[in-house]
Amino acid sequence: MLYMAKRGSVVLKVSGLRRAFGPVTILDKFNLEVREGEAVALTGRNGAGKSTLLRCLVGADKPDDGTIEIDGTKLTESAVEIRRDMATVIDDLDFFPDLSVVEHLDLLARAHGLSDPEPVVDEILHEVQLIPQSGQLPGTLSSGQRRRLALATAFVRPRKLLILDEPEQRLDTEGIFWLARRLREERENGLAIVFASHEPSLVNSVATRILHLGAARDGEMVGPTPDQSLAEPSLTPETVVPGEPSAAVPGQSAQKTAQKQKQPAKKPRPSQGRKPKSTPKSAANQRRNR
C-alpha cells in the first residue's frame, strides 16, 4: 500500500531557509511544505543538519535567511498562536524539579485550556507506562522515563503540528513500537508531523515523505563555499515516498504486542486518591486534537 498524503491545508511552510555556522553552510535555499495529515521524516548522518533544521522550525535557533510560517503565522518563538498549535520535543525540554510527573502533564493540559485534563493525563500516562512513576519528581526518573515524559507533554495538549527530534532516543523496543503506532494514529487524525530519526522502523511506518539530509563527506569538512549547501534539494509535496510497513516495521502482530504492554497488576492511580471520571476515549481524542 502506498501512503497517500492527504491534501489538507499547509501547516508548515519553509522558504529559502539558510543556516551556516562560520564557513560551513548547513542548510541553504531549503524549502518545505507540510500539510495536515503529512509526516515528514528527516534522515541523514550525524551533523547533516537535522537538529539544526528542527531547532530553526521551533524557533530555538535563528536561521540566517529565509522564512518559516506555521499555519500562516510567521514564526517567532514566543508567538502565542504558534505555541498553541505546535508541540515540540527537542533536546531543550526542561522540567520543574519540584513538580511530579502527573502534575507536569496536568499543568500543561490546563494551560492549553483543558478544564478537566484528568482522563487525557491518565490515558497518556498509561500509554507511556509512567503510571507507577506518576508521583515521582523528574530528577529521579531514568533517562528513558524522562524521554517518555517529554513525549507525553506533546500528546497531552491540543496541537496541529508536532516536531520531534529523534523521539526514539533512549526508548526501549516496546517504547518505539508504541511511538510508531501513536504517531501513525496522529497522522491519520490529521496532524502534521516533522521528525528526525535514525530508526528505520519508525521512519518507514510513520513517514509519508522522507528527506535525506546530506552530511559533509570526508575531505569536505573545510570550507564549502557560502552558497554550497550540505542539504540535498528538498522534495516537493508531490514526491511521496512509499512507507508501507514491512518486515522491519511493526506490523499487526507488533501492534498487538504493543497494546499488551505490561502494567503493574495493581495499577496505581495517577490521580492520587481522586475518583477517575469515565470519559470515553473517543471524546478524549477529540478534545486532544481539537
Binding site: 514566543s78 508541540a87 520543574f96 524539579p97 519540584d98 490546563r110 494551560a111 492549553h112 483543558l114 490521580s271
Partner: protein, 537 residues
Amino acid sequence: MTTADVPFAEHGQRAPLIADDPATAKELKLMIKDWRTGRATRSLGQALSDGYIAVFGFLLVGAMVANVIVQAQGVVSQCNSQACLSARTLLPWATFALCVSAALVLSRLFGPVLASAAEGFWLLDAPVQRKRLLTPRLLGITAAGLGIGMLAGGLIAALTGSPFDEIVIWGVGTGLAAAASISFAAAEQGAERHLPTRLVSYLFGLLGLVALLAVIAVAAKWVVLDVNATRAVDIGLALIAAAAIVLVLTSVLALARLNQIRRTRLLSGGALVSGISGAFFALDFGLIRDIVVDRRAMEIGHVRSRPGRGVGLRPLVWREAQRLARSPQPLLWVALSLVVPYAVDALGMGSVMPIFGSLVLFGAMVPMLNGLRVLTRTGGLARAMPFSNKAIKRATVAVPAVVALLWALATIPAFLGFASDHHPFPEAALMALVTGAAGFLGAVRWTTGKPPNFGGPAVASQFGAIPPGLIIGMIRGFDMCLLITAPLLLGMPPMVSLVIAAIVALILLTLDWDAMKAQAEEQQKQVRAERQQRAGN
C-alpha cells in the same frame, strides 16, 4: 610489572596477579599530586602576576571593607540605648546559632567527608586504609569551618560595637562551634545516620530565629533586657569550653568511623562539589543554585500529587502557591530576613536600612523563584505553553510578589523607627515598599539572567578572553537593589525610588526582550534586502 611479566600458569591460563609491595596511601596521593602539578601550564605566581590588576582590586576593596567595619564599629560602640545594647547582646548569639545550623546543613548536603569521582575509582578501590586517605580531608574541612565561623562571629560582634575581648570570645566561640558541628556531622555520616544532624540543625536554626526576634522585641520595647557585661564574657568563655569539648569528642568519633563511610556517600558529595565548582569557575551562579535545587529534589524523590486549578495562566499561578505550600522553607528565609531592617534600626543605622533590607530580601526571595528560573533558563518548557514569555513571567512571579508585598508591610514599623530618626507614616510606608520592591526585582533579575556565553565574542583582558556577560553576571540583582534604593541613601524622596522601581519592573516583567530583538533583526534584514534591491535596480 607489565602484562608481559605476568606469569602464565599451566594450560596457558593467566595466574592471579599478586602485588608484592602495594603502594601506601601517601605514595598514591603523592603520585596524584605529581600528575596534577606536572600538567599545570602556569605557576600560581605567574597567574597572580598576570592578573595583578584583579589582585590589586581585591586588596583595595578588602581595605575599604575593613575600613567600613572599623568605622561602623566606632559609631555603633558609642550607642548606649536599650535597643543598641540588646542588639549587641543578642546578635552574636543569633550568629552563633545560625552558624552552627548552616554548618550542619552544608555538612549534610556535601557529606561533609567527600571524594571526587576519580578518587573513588582509582584510590578507594586500592588496598589502602581509607581512613588514612580521608583523615586530612576531614581535618581540612573542620579547620575551614573554624576559620569561617571565627570570621562570622568576630565580624558580627565587631559590627554590633562590642569591645575587643568580646569580639575575640565570640569569634573563637562561633568558630569552634562551627567546627564541632562539622565533626559531629562527619561522625553521623560514618554511622550512616541523617536524622540527628537534621534535628540539631533545625534546633539551632530555631534558636537563631528566636535570638533575632528578641532583638526586635527589645528594640520595640516589648521586652526589657537586663544586660550584664561581665556575665556576657563569662557565658562566652563557657561557650568556648563547651564547643571545644564537643569538637574533641565528635572528632574522635568521626575519625574512628571514617573507614565505615560508604563509597557512594563519599562520591555523591564529590559529584555535587565538582558540579558546583565547575559552575563557580564559569561564574554561573544560577547553575550553582540549579545543582543544589536538583539535589534537594532528588532527595525528596516522590511527592503526593495534587490536581491543578483553572485553565490558562491560572494553573501556573496555582502551582507556584502549591509549590510554596509543599516546601515552605523559602518562606522561612523571608521571615528571617524581616529581622534585618529591625536589627539595623536597633543598631542606630537607619539610613542604610533600605539597602541592607533589600539585599537580604533579594537573597531570601531567590529560592521562591524556582518556577521562573526553570521557565527562563531554557526555552523548551515555556514553548510548550500557549503564552508569551512576559505573560509566563508575570504569572510565575505573582505569588512571590505578594510575599514581597507582605514583607514590605511587615517592615513599616522598622521604617517608622525605634532607635534612629523617625519617619512619618506615609514616608515610612513608601520606604518599606521601595525596599521590598528592590529586593524582589533584584531576585527576578538574578533569576532570569542568562549565563555567560563562552561561545560568543569575548573581551581581551589580563586574564585572557572574558565573555561580556561574565562581569555583569557577578553583579546581577545587586545592581537593581542599589539602583532602586540609591535615592533613599542620598536623602531623596522615596517617590523617586518608587518611579525607578516601576521602570525596572516594566523592563523586567513587561517587555519581551527576545521578541523585541527578533523584531529588530527582522526589520534590519528587510532594510538590507530593500537596499540590495535598489542597488540592483
